[in-house]
Symmetry: C2
Subunit: 149 residues, 2 copies
C-alpha cells in the first residue's frame, strides 16, 4: 500500500468516525478500487472493476460511496460533456485541466499553472492532438494514435 493510499484511507476513516458513519466492507472495497485506479473515473467503470471480484456489490452503493468520498474531501466531483458524473482524487488545487480522448474516452489529468501556450505545448508533448481549446482538451491520446496508424 502506497503512502498516498494509506493517507487517504486514514482521512476517510477519520471522517467516518467524526460523522458517526460506518466503515463497511463495501466502502473499503470501493475506496481501494478508486485509489488504485489512480485517474479520473466514474461510477460505471468502478462498478465493472468491483463486480469482477466482488459480485455482490450494488450499483447504488457505488454511487453513494463516491458522493461520500467527495463529502469527505477525498474525491472531487466534476463533469465533462457526456452525461456521466466523474470523480478524481482531491487535493491538487483549483486548476483542473483534462485531456479527453475522443477515441477511447480516457480522461488524463493535465494540471499546469502556466499560460495557455504552455498548456498546448505540454499537451502536444504528451502525444495529444489538440482539436479545440477548452478546459476539456479533446483529441486523440498517444495510445489511440499509435493503434490507428
Amino acid at each position: 500500500m502506497t503512502q498516498k493510499k494509506q493517507k487517504v484511507k486514514e482521512q476517510f476513516h477519520l471522517f467516518l468516525t467524526k460523522k458517526r458513519l460506518k466503515a463497511t466492507l463495501q466502502r473499503n472495497l470501493i475506496l481501494d478500487a478508486f485509489v488504485d485506479l489512480d485517474r479520473p473515473t466514474h461510477m460505471d467503470e468502478l462498478y465493472l472493476i468491483l463486480r469482477s471480484k466482488h459480485s455482490h456489490i450494488g450499483h447504488a452503493t457505488v454511487y453513494r460511496a463516491l458522493r461520500l468520498f467527495a463529502a469527505a474531501g477525498i474525491a472531487r466531483e466534476f463533469s465533462l460533456g457526456d452525461g456521466l458524473t466523474r470523480y478524481e482524487l482531491a487535493g491538487h488545487g483549483k486548476r483542473h485541466d483534462y485531456l479527453v480522448c475522443s477515441d477511447c474516452g480516457t480522461v488524463t489529468e493535465f494540471d499546469n499553472s502556466s499560460i495557455e501556450e504552455r498548456q498546448l505545448a505540454v499537451a502536444r508533448s504528451m502525444g495529444f492532438t489538440v482539436e479545440a481549446l477548452k478546459i476539456e482538451l479533446r483529441g486523440v491520446c498517444s495510445r489511440c494514435l499509435t493503434q490507428s496508424g
Copy 2:
C-alpha cells in the same frame, strides 16, 4: 430585425431548402426566440418563453429544433456541469469561455484569445468574482453581487 438575425434566418432557410426540409411556423418561432435572447440558453428556458406567447408548442419540437439549428451550423451545442444541453449562436471560433453565475445560473460568454492572467482580469472587470479557474468560470455575476450586498 437586426442584421445578424436576418443573416441567421437566411442561413437557416438555405439549409432547409438544401436538405428538402420544411420551414414550419414552430421552427421560425423557436429560431426567433433563440436569436432574440442573444445569450447561451437551453431547451427549458426557450420553452417557457415560447409557451408564454404560443401555448401550443410541444417540448419535443423545441428539442428537435435546437438540434436542427446545430446541424445547420447556426447553433453550437455545449454542456456545463448540470444535466442540461446548452446552445449558443455559432460562428465565433474555437474558444468558448463561460462565466457561470453560481447564484442565478446565468451563463455569459467570455471569449478572449489572450493568456490566463488576462482572462482573469477581464472576468474581474466584468464584475465577476472568480472562484475557480476552469473553462466555466464560476462565481457571482455583477447583478447578483449588487442584489445581495
